[in-house]
């Protein structure tokens, strides 16, 4: 396994080197590490709690404890809150999601929060450990799932929260406190806006399309937010709001031969303003790249929304998602996590085999010129099956020049990144530690493993 590694090939200038291990060791399986969208904070669920690390000190900042009775598998930072407000939602196997508000050092005022973090960054760390139990307050419990909540995710604006569960459903919640001027002391007010039950198996992960220009591509047809969910039924589904308050499944992405563990949206804006692509990864060991097909006719329609076209003439509530590439196979076992850099466009994958792999897209600046690296051409285009097999698109993609450059190559791999342990999560993350002179700009990788360790890795591109 992982024998295709070009490691040792001195021609490849891309390197992954260990940077640091976050302190302390959690001594429990840890499931993921989610960076705050702007602040130097990282949230890592493990056991029944969540540890918040400072990205400045690479050590513990605070903790969310006593909120769940079973393991916490997923966390999400709510974006779009007022200055100085910090709110985290945790999803747990106890079938609930919990909303937490940060209480630590409130009286210092809004702007102090960041400073506080930065002070710690300078290594002072005074007062550490005091009040630890009170720093985060559990303010709201979101109940409704019948059993284990597997993943939670916020839409880019923070308006919507998606949760998914072993009960095969995806729930969409809306934070409706904003309209009434939400009090920063509380956990918001949450309405259930959708219960989506189309998956035939546990839903493992949910992810919202990031707010990049390409996202507006089809907004005349739907609301702007796009949700993807990955399931034990081997499929990934795309969900959108139909403009009438109804969330509908607009596409079913079929192709994986085992559980789809997760999805990752393309976070870097595409140069041609196209809709972000989607990565899906699976227990079948593969990572697939999917692209939304938008035809010209619809483009025109989308630019003049509600232009008097009768309802029945409007585009049906479907999207055509096509698999344009399968990444070179590196992992011998389940791929648990893939991260897509918003800066470099480089992919990082990891999984059950403890391997970390980096990939670049052909034609992208980082794909270098190494001719000897394994090339992968796009597979025979596999149409995403949108409920029915309407408009089979078995050949269409070939004529569309863009899909031809859908080749990806492995830049480098490292094995046993967490020793013999499985790696559950990988993410790109901005550096704020003393070791970088480009704080908040330079990227690093963070992996989270069954060994209870959260590790930071420096990535050197050519």
């Amino acid at each position: 396994m992982a024998s295709s590694s070009p490691e040792g090939d001195s021609s490849s200038a891309t390197k992954i080197t260990p940077l640091a291990t976050f302190e302390p060791d959690l001594y429990q399986r840890a499931w993921q590490s989610i960076p705050h969208p702007s602040l130097p904070l990282l949230a890592t669920p493990h056991g029944t709690s969540v540890t918040i690390f400072s990205l400045a000190t690479l050590s513990k900042h605070s903790a969310l404890v006593n909120g769940h009775t079973r393991s916490v598998r997923s966390v999400a930072w709510q974006p779009g809150l007022g200055a100085g407000q910090l709110r985290v939602v945790s999803g747990s196997f106890d079938s609930t999601a919990a909303v937490w508000n940060f209480r630590g050092d409130r009286r210092q005022g809004d702007t102090e929060l960041e400073r506080e973090v930065k002070v710690e960054a300078d290594g002072e760390g005074e007062g550490e450990g005091e009040e630890e139990e009170d720093e985060w307050e559990l303010t709201v419990v979101l109940e409704g799932h019948e059993n284990e909540v597997k993943s939670v995710a916020f839409s880019p604006s923070g308006q919507f929260l998606a949760t998914c569960s072993r009960d095969k459903s995806v729930w969409v919640w809306e934070d409706v406190s904003g309209e009434q001027g939400g009090d920063e002391d509380d956990g918001g007010e949450w309405d259930t806006v959708a219960v989506l039950s189309e998956h035939d198996g546990d839903v493992k992960a949910v992810a919202w399309c990031p707010d990049v220009p390409g996202r507006e591509r089809r907004k005349g047809v739907f609301g702007v937010d796009v949700l993807a969910s990955a399931s034990y039924d081997n499929t990934v589904r795309i969900w959108r709001e139909d403009g009438d308050g109804e969330w509908v499944c607009v596409a079913v992405l079929e192709g994986h031969e085992a559980t789809a563990w997760g999805v990752q949206w393309e976070t870097r804006p595409r140069e041609d303003g196209k809709f972000p692509r989607l990565l899906t990864y699976s227990a079948d060991g593969s990572v697939r790249v999917w692209e939304l097909k938008v035809d010209e006719e619809e483009e025109v329609e989308a630019r003049q929304p509600w232009s008097g076209i009768p309802n029945t003439m409007r585009r049906s509530l479907r999207e055509d998602w096509v698999c344009t590439a399968v990444l070179p196979k590196v992992h011998g076992r389940d791929v648990y996590s893939v991260a897509w850099s918003a800066e470099s466009g480089i992919l990082a994958s990891t999984g059950s085999d403890g391997v970390i792999a980096l990939y670049a897209e052909d034609g992208d600046q980082h794909s270098a010129q190494d001719e000897d690296v394994e090339m992968v051409s796009p597979p025979a285009a596999e149409p995403a099956k949108p409920e029915s097999d309407q408009q089979p698109t078995t050949t269409a993609t070939d004529t569309n020049g863009t899909t031809q450059k859908g080749g990806w190559r492995v830049l480098t791999t490292i094995e046993n990144a967490h020793g013999p342990y499985e790696i559950n999560h990988i993410t790109w993350c901005k550096r704020f530690d003393a070791g970088t002179d480009r704080k908040g700009i330079e990227e690093m990788l963070v992996t989270t493993g069954d060994d209870g360790l959260v590790k930071a890795w420096a990535v050197t591109l050519d």
């Binding site: 072993r166 729930w171 809306e174 918001g188 039950s197 969330w247 060991g285």
Partner: protein
């Protein structure tokens, strides 16, 4: 119509649990017999239901579960489709019809009696049909067939000489087919009395405010199993199906002098969960004929089949339902003249669009309120989606005297039950109590709901979209519409609109613009929304008189919190595995 809808036939009613946990109690831990690939070992998927992941389409013995078991178990929200369909199905209808020659109605000098009692299996067959079922069939027929015409086709199938009577061992058919809309009128009057305090008084125990509709069995079942704190709010009035069942069983057994178990009552409904309702111990002769307590007596409704199952029933007798006549069929007189007039009214009440397609409980209450406040207006505000609507009755002086709402669909029900839920003590020691998805009551905002009444239905779009209706992706519709691909959400929306259209279809379409709100209230005459409350009360009193049973026992019902004993006591192997998995952090 809604996000909760999907290609599956059943998922638009309150979704069944991940699995029924009943069978699992007796099963050993499913050990994968085949050697799994190495990576499968890393997926410590915690699975109770033998679902897709347990890799065991193994030789589990077929579990036998009765609907009454389902009602007694909180393992899942409702029960599994297979259970519902196997126990009350078109096959059961056929086998009961073929069990013995049916009882025959005989007119005597001082009334009616029946013939054929010597055969212990002989029954008198009576059917009741919902308007949503007629609408489903009308839309399926297409070609401008109205709901009433579709109803006549169904009557010909069940009662007429060219329907079920053309086949079967004894050429049996149904003696009567009645319309649940007639029982509905009584339910509306009783329901409004319960909310507003009227001549009926609302029974012995009044529900808490806001009063919540209880005619949707999916919603009632969900509340009993998952949110028992809402039970005090549920309307005590029986559903139209249940009220019709009690009416038929009590009056027919009394007037014909036969035991209620000699009357076999079939209800035809838009909804699978109505089968569950029919199995409730609260709706048997134990309540009105026995000790007055719920029990496993003779059911008021013996069997429920859905709109879709009518097609299966006709097909299995080799009858093309679409060949049935649309001409009126004359049915035998009901053995009580007053009830004859009530059950077979000379003219049918028009279905008002504003009433919706779920019986119009809220609509009637609003009109009752308006009739009590001359000059008042009903105001309507759409909520976050089409299935949430708020209503207010405002007097001429601008004072709001009544607030109510409609909450349809599972996701909207979540928001309703959350608002009714009492706050819990915090799990964090010393912390203040927290709300469930709402700010703590301490925040100084008005807590709870200000509504006096909420019409709650499990299905998005209401009862015309019931789980048992003929669906856009059913073969019959795919064929009739000529779809070349599987219909998607848009086609589904359009199909539901057609069914709704059929629901409101009048016999003569040009009679009056159906979009015009009909003002059929006449406060002085006691007529509200076309229903004379005094006539309804008279017939209810008559019913009580001829049967000698108190109205309390006839028209009201009760609800109970369902506490599962599953998982209590000694732990099963499966549960131990789950606990173990939880301790070590579980699998993914």
């Amino acid at each position: 119509m809604s996000a909760i809808l999907s290609v599956d036939d059943l998922n638009d009613f309150i979704s069944p649990g991940v699995a029924c946990i009943k069978p699992i109690e007796t099963l050993p831990v499913p050990v994968p017999s085949d050697v799994p690939p190495p990576n499968a070992l890393d997926e410590h998927e915690v699975i109770l239901d033998g679902g897709p992941s347990s890799s065991s389409p193994s030789s589990q013995p077929a579990a036998q579960i009765s609907l009454t078991d389902c009602l007694a178990c909180s393992g899942c929200v409702t029960s599994a489709e297979a259970v519902l369909v196997s126990l009350q199905s078109h096959n059961e209808v056929l086998s009961v019809l073929d069990a013995a020659p049916s009882l025959h109605l005989v007119k005597t000098t001082n009334g009616y009696t029946v013939d054929g009692l010597q055969d212990k299996n002989a029954k008198l067959f009576v059917a009741s049909i919902s308007p949503q079922t007629r609408a489903s069939l009308a839309a399926t027929c297409g070609g401008g067939i109205t709901e009433r015409q579709a109803g006549r086709m169904i009557e010909h199938l069940f009662v007429g000489p060219n329907g079920l009577r053309t086949g079967g061992q004894y050429a049996n058919g149904f003696t009567w087919m009645v319309d649940t809309n007639t029982a509905r009128e009584a339910c509306l009057v009783l329901g409004a009395d319960e909310v507003l305090g009227g001549a009926g008084g609302g029974g012995d125990s009044k529900p808490a405010t806001p009063v919540l509709t209880s005619s949707c069995p999916g919603w009632v079942c969900y509340a009993e199993k998952t949110h028992p704190y809402v039970l005090p709010h549920l309307s005590r009035v029986k559903s139209p199906q249940a009220l019709m069942g009690t009416l038929l069983k009590t009056t027919l057994s009394k007037t014909l002098g036969i035991s209620p178990d000699r009357i076999w009552h079939l209800a035809i409904m838009p909804c699978f969960d109505k089968k569950l309702e029919a199995s409730r111990e609260e709706l048997t002769d134990s309540v009105w004929g026995g000790d007055g307590k719920p029990g496993r007596g003779v059911r008021d409704v013996d069997c429920v089949i859905t709109s879709k199952e009518i097609l299966m029933l006709a097909a299995s007798r080799g009858i093309n339902i679409f060949d049935m006549s649309t001409t009126p069929l004359s049915q035998p007189l009901f053995p009580d003249p007053s009830l004859q007039d009530f059950l077979f009214p000379p003219s049918e009440r028009r279905q008002s669009r504003a009433a919706g397609t779920s019986g119009g409980n809220l609509h009637y209450v609003l009109h009752d309120v308006r009739s009590r406040h001359p000059g008042s207006q009903i105001q309507t505000v759409r909520g976050r989606n089409a299935d949430v609507v708020e209503y207010a009755v405002t007097t001429a002086s601008g004072e709001t005297v009544f607030k109510a709402a409609r909450y349809y669909g599972f996701r909207n029900i979540q928001n309703l039950v959350r608002k009714l839920k009492p706050a819990k003590a915090s799990r964090m020691p010393g912390s203040k109590p927290f709300g469930s998805a709402r700010r703590p009551a301490a925040a100084g905002k008005p807590a709870g709901l200000e509504y006096a009444y909420v019409e709650v239905m499990a299905c998005p779009g209401g009862c015309t979209n019931g789980g048992g209706q003929i669906k856009v992706d059913d073969q019959v519709i795919v064929d009739r519409k000529g779809f070349t691909t599987k219909p998607g959400p848009q086609e589904q929306k359009e199909w539901l609109a057609e069914v709704d259209e059929a629901y409101f279809s009048a016999d003569e379409p040009d009679l009056a613009s159906a979009d015009q709100p009909m003002d059929t209230d006449d406060a002085t005459a006691g007529v509200i929304d076309g229903i004379s409350a005094s006539k309804v009360r008279d017939i209810l009193a008559h019913w009580s008189r001829i049967t000698g049973i108190s109205l309390q026992k006839l028209v009201y019902t009760s609800y109970r919190e369902v506490i599962s004993d599953v998982g209590k006591g000694q732990a099963t192997d499966t549960e131990r595995v789950v606990q173990l998995a939880g301790k070590i952090g579980g699998g993914w």
